[in-house]
């Protein structure tokens, strides 16, 4: 499947996860292109979010492996996977509702050792970085607000800023355009492109096909818990198996 110059920093091998009798992820072998914007698409209930959760350690898969940057990270705790450089957002956006916007971002600070962790959270270094990220996503004016009081779109941007604070190499976004207005979708797309240009790999689950086709370099199509097609956006778009999965013909 891989052609030589393409590197795969994140890949799964025969990943399987069943809930009761339903195999949400079924023997999925997928690899994502390093340094690119990868999209993961598929009809509702095709197991994309479960796949995300297995990869990021939120759910322990029943079988199969997840490798990240050459290391087997299957079944590792989510925080270890995060610290290895794999950041993620959540479907429907999850922020810390009763913390300020600034503290939300500060929660992503990477720290090691007890002394380091007992340092004040509001130290100038961390705050400067957090503000920089808030400015980058365009919500620096809200830093003192409680996160539950800002708009949904702003919360999405805040979530992204928090993920960036943890300095990930690869960012997995679960429906970044879900439930936000067109203007904001454009802003998020621009941010993703910029961040990708700086060398970050993206894996994006998204239903907005227009966005997927314009943004991504590589598309993986999921149906019933496993990949049924992958390739450049244009190729995938014309793949009969994809049409079948979406339209159920």
């Amino acid at each position: 499947m891989s052609s030589d110059p393409i590197k795969h920093s994140l890949a799964t091998q025969n990943l399987t996860k069943a809930f009761g009798g339903v195999r949400a992820v079924d023997n999925a072998t997928v690899s994502f292109h390093e340094g690119k914007i990868n999209a993961l698409i598929g009809p509702n209930g095709s197991g994309k979010t479960t796949f995300f959760n297995c990869v990021t350690g939120m759910i322990r898969p029943d079988s199969g492996t997840v490798t990240y940057q050459g290391r087997d990270v299957t079944g590792h705790a989510p925080h270890r996977i995060a610290r290895a450089g794999l950041g993620r957002s959540f479907q429907l956006c999850r922020i810390f509702p009763r913390m300020t916007v600034l503290d939300n971002v500060l929660a992503g600070v990477r720290s090691t050792g007890l002394v380091h962790r007992l340092r004040g959270a509001h130290n100038p270094d961390d705050i400067a970085r957090a503000r920089e990220l808030l400015a980058r996503v365009g919500i620096e004016h809200l830093e003192r607000s409680e996160a539950r009081d800002i708009s949904y779109g702003q919360q999405k941007l805040l979530e992204l800023a928090g993920v960036l604070m943890a300095e990930p190499d690869t960012i997995m976004l679960d429906e970044p355009a879900g439930g936000v207005n067109p203007a904001l979708i454009g802003r998020i797309a621009t941010l993703v492109r910029e961040l990708n240009a700086e060398g970050r790999t993206f894996v994006i689950v998204e239903h907005n096909m227009e966005l997927v086709m314009s943004l991504s370099d590589h598309v993986v199509v999921f149906d019933r818990g496993r990949p049924i097609a992958s390739g450049a956006p244009a190729d995938v778009q014309n793949d009969p198996r994809v049409l079948e999965a979406y339209l159920g013909v």
Binding site: M99, A107, G108
Partner: protein, 363 residues
């Protein structure tokens, strides 16, 4: 009134820093006055009985702050903190009576031992989410009560243990109370400083993130289990210190009271009432609940109605003021101050509207 408050909103932006400073000064003054009053209490107390009530309340304050390391920072509610205070008490008593160790050294050694014992307990109960933690916390008190009552060779069984007084017999009762009052206040202050240090640190931010959304915190790289374990052990240690100090003050230990779910639930109520998110919330809660408990005891004696009252109070707080009474009251005040709601953004339309309102007010 309305336009005045709007005016306040308009000047809110530039006024923030200076008002922030004056708020800080006001807080410091209030804290100094409160501390002064607390320290003057033994001199003001009319009789030794009131003084002893003060000691009980001070011990509750230390316990509630210790409880709040876990409860406030992680949101994990322990109903069984009496286990750690009881162990601290029994440990201190046994070290003094059986091993002849100096009472203060005993207190600290016992608390360290409880802290060590808290590690496996924490491992068992904190790896998974809240439900198991609660179950273990209650189970621990029940099992310790069983053990304390049955293992009479060591624990004295249902008769409990007597603890010799750390100050000589020449120190009279009121003097004892006074000294222990200051000791408990000092212990509470130590706990408060520790809580404050953790709360404002990166560790504290991680813990608050756990309280808000544990999955999300983990996905951001917060080692949630390790963080929870750290504050859990700190909490157990501080609770045991307070328990040991109580044993030295009170002089005798009765397993029914040492390992009591009720004591644990007082701590929960105190912290919830005062507000678990704030530094001083548990202290305020301890004063209110501690006083109420002692008042109830002296007025109505040993009636079952105090259980009903405690239950009703707890239910009311949980249902209507889960963030605490003080935060609830503050929130009610804030309702009338639109400028201080937590949206700190003032957009152009809002500004225009405010300007219009100002002009209307002038004309």
């Amino acid at each position: 009134m309305l336009s005045a408050s709007r005016h306040k909103t308009a000047t809110h932006q530039e006024g923030r820093t200076s008002s922030g400073r004056s708020v800080l000064v006001a807080k410091l003054v209030a804290a100094a006055v409160a501390l002064g009053l607390v320290l003057a209490f033994p001199a003001l107390a009319p009789d030794p009985f009131i003084l002893s009530v003060g000691v009980v309340i001070a011990s509750y304050a230390a316990l509630a702050v210790a409880w709040n390391f876990v409860g406030g920072m992680t949101g994990y509610i322990s109903l069984g903190h009496a286990a750690y205070s009881g162990l601290g008490g029994y440990g201190t008593a046994l070290l003094v009576t059986e091993a002849g160790v100096n009472p203060w050294v005993s207190m600290i050694v016992a608390a360290v031992l409880v802290g060590v014992a808290a590690v496996p307990i924490g491992i068992a109960s904190l790896r998974v989410r809240g439900a198991s933690f609660v179950i273990v916390s209650i189970a621990l008190v029940l099992i310790l009560l069983l053990v304390a009552q049955s293992w009479s060779d060591v624990t004295g069984g249902s008769n409990g243990l007597r603890v010799p007084r750390p100050f000589g017999t020449d120190v009279l009762r009121p003097e004892q109370h006074e000294r222990f009052f200051y000791l408990f206040v000092a212990l509470t202050l130590v706990a408060l400083v520790l809580w404050w240090v953790i709360d404002r640190s990166r560790l504290g931010t991680g813990l608050k993130a756990i309280r808000e959304d544990e999955d999300k915190a983990q996905a951001l790289g917060v080692p949630t289990f390790a963080y929870k374990l750290v504050v859990f052990v700190v909490s157990a240690f501080m609770t045991a210190m307070a328990g040991g100090m109580y044993a030295l003050w009170f002089g005798s230990l009765d397993p029914i009271f040492q390992f009591s779910i009720l004591t644990g639930s007082y701590l929960v109520l105190m912290s919830l009432l005062g507000g678990v998110r704030s530094l001083l919330g548990p202290v305020v809660g301890a004063v209110i609940v501690g006083y109420a408990v002692e008042f109830f005891k002296t007025q109505y004696g040993d009636t079952q109605l105090h259980l009903v009252a405690l239950g009703l109070l707890l239910a009311l707080v949980v249902l209507f003021m889960p963030d605490g009474v003080i935060p609830w009251v503050t929130a009610q005040f804030d309702r009338f101050r639109p400028g201080d709601t937590s949206i700190r953004e003032v957009d152009a339309a809002q500004l225009a509207e405010e300007r219009k309102a100002l002009e209307e007010a002038k004309s």
